[in-house]
């Protein structure tokens, strides 16, 4: 069996499991859209706020579907012994992780598309000005947060602790990275922290693609920060990986 076919079968298996898990479906699909509707309904009359919110929620959804979901998922799979069991089969490791990552990426892509479409249809935000840049920054965000999610799972001691660990990172990061409001008014210290982390740069890139028309070339600094985190995340994910 070719490795592409193996990976595809593994991905379909993961997709089937995903839709059977109500809490995964809630955190990956319902929660970002719920936040979008709630916050947007407060600011529906303010187009500038919507221009912040749509790319912000899209960036948050990328992080939630990859970083948070993979950190949760891997902690569960490790604690249950499922990782160990799969490792005892001839399934190649790249195909197994391809399935896990691919499923997270599929969620991220669907979310970004849904948010952009809702932004346009419901709230009258223009269609993305630079679709290529939208694709590039979504892809960069997915790779970066996917790697960081796997790396972070290595640090989570058990599944009971997973929600605390993940949200200890996720919630502060979304608040300082300009998901719900422009982050320009943050205190300098928090602004500096946000600048050093990848989410703010993903949102900047998405904002350029959707709202201002700034392309990849205009956001090379953001690309560099995200790529650096992606490399660091990949290194940490592999170096400290625990099968059991």
């Amino acid at each position: 069996m070719s490795s592409a076919a193996t990976l595809w079968r593994q991905l379909r298996f993961e997709r089937r499991l995903f839709w059977r898990n109500p809490s995964a479906a809630f955190f990956n699909f319902i929660l970002p859209l719920l936040l979008l509707f709630l916050v947007a309904s407060v600011f529906a009359s303010d187009p500038e706020e919507l221009d912040v919110l749509i790319p912000g929620i899209a960036g948050m959804a990328v992080m939630a579907t990859t970083f948070s979901a993979l950190a949760f998922n891997l902690t569960f799979l490790r604690e249950q012994g499922i990782l160990k069991r799969m490792r005892g089969t001839p399934l190649p490791v790249p195909a197994y992780f391809g399935g896990l990552l691919g499923s997270a990426v599929a969620n991220a892509l669907v979310q970004v598309v849904l948010i952009v479409v809702i932004g346009n249809v419901v709230y009258g935000v223009d269609w993305p000005r630079d679709p290529l840049s939208l694709a590039v920054f979504t892809a960069l965000g997915v790779v970066c947060f996917g790697a960081l999610g796997i790396a972070f799972a290595n640090a989570i001691p058990n599944f009971d602790a997973a929600a605390a660990y993940v949200n200890l990172v996720f919630l502060p990061v979304i608040f300082i990275s300009g998901v719900f409001y422009s982050a320009d008014s943050l205190p300098a210290f928090l602004e500096g922290v946000a600048q050093a982390l990848p989410l703010k740069h993903v949102i900047e890139g998405l904002s350029g693609a959707i709202v201002t028309g700034a392309g990849v070339a205009d956001n090379l600094g953001a690309v560099l920060v995200i790529a650096a985190w992606a490399v660091a995340g990949t290194y940490l994910a592999i170096r400290y990986f625990r099968w059991e």
């Binding site: 079968r9 499991l17 059977r20 249950q80 012994g81 499922i82 005892g88 089969t89 001839p90």
Partner: protein, 284 residues
């Protein structure tokens, strides 16, 4: 091929300064059911996990179906089935889907339905794995290990926590593996399990093999016979490897004194006695 399915020579494994396995050597022939028997913490699981490719050995030679398991060669994984000691599964998958999916991971799998029937889970085929009882989950573990049609099956304490009926059922499956010509390496801390299933047994204690052989012939070295009788209300016991001579002396003396040797018995130690004698230090 005539070489053994598993060859282990002077296997050692240390965790930091603690040596869990201290120079094990044994062979498992093709088609043989081999039991590693020993108390918890004796090093059985460490040994099996080195053979399965999960752990790296510290020293020694290990060959599994002609491969070094530490290389994690996919061609080896395709020929081996593993039942781990305690291991969960995706909770939202049905038994049928789980077995089907695992079948798809192997180049020449068994029929999924037939495998489900082999372990007796036909009625649970559509049940999600989270709904299964402990014994049923263990049978699913077996089905998942067997569906790839492996030549060699590792069973790490396959019946721990089973009720007696479930144990008997699992034993039936292991015996059928033997009939199918599979090689089985079984670890257990249940004596009766080793006695009922294994062609040969190695008793492991503190990371070393203290006795090895067919379960019926295992003896703790000398003496191999025990002669006992009652005298003046006390039980007198002698141990010997020459019961003929001992009995002759005992009976002659008794006749000379005009006594009867009440309750005279000549016994060979059972596997249980051998096992308890060999491993008793752990209980002190």
């Amino acid at each position: 091929m005539t070489e053994a399915a598993i060859q282990v020579r002077d296997l050692r494994k240390s965790y930091g300064r603690v040596e869990a396995v201290k120079g094990l050597s044994f062979n498992v022939g093709r088609g043989e059911i081999f039991g590693l028997l020993g108390p918890n913490g004796a090093g059985k699981t460490t040994t099996v996990e080195i053979l399965e490719g999960y752990r790296q050995r510290s020293a020694g030679e290990v060959t599994v179906l002609g491969h070094d398991p530490a290389s994690r060669d996919r061609r080896l994984q395709e020929r081996v089935g593993i039942v781990l000691q305690s291991c969960g599964f995706y909770p939202r998958v049905s038994v049928g889907e789980a077995v089907q999916h695992f079948a798809s991971l192997y180049p020449a799998p068994r029929d999924a339905e037939e495998t489900i029937a082999l372990v007796g889970l036909e009625e649970q085929r559509k049940a999600r794995t989270a709904e299964l009882s402990g014994g049923q989950r263990r049978r699913l573990d077996l089905a998942l290990a067997l569906v790839g049609d492996p030549e060699l099956v590792f069973l790490d304490e396959p019946t721990t926590g089973f009720d007696p009926a479930a144990r008997r059922a699992a034993w039936g499956v292991v015996r059928r593996l033997g009939e199918l010509g599979k090689t089985v390496l079984l670890t257990t801390h249940y004596l009766d399990e080793a006695q009922a299933l294994a062609d040969r047994v190695a008793i492991v204690k503190d990371g070393m093999i203290v006795a090895e052989g067919p379960p019926g012939e295992l003896a703790p070295g000398q003496p191999t016979y025990r002669v006992a009788y009652d005298s003046n209300g006390r039980r007198v016991q002698h141990e010997t490897d020459d019961p003929t001579d001992l009995l002759h002396r005992l009976t002659s003396d008794a006749l000379a004194r005009g006594e009867r040797l009440e309750g005279l018995a000549v016994t060979r130690p059972t596997l249980e006695e051998v096992y308890l004698e060999l491993t008793e230090e752990d209980e002190r």
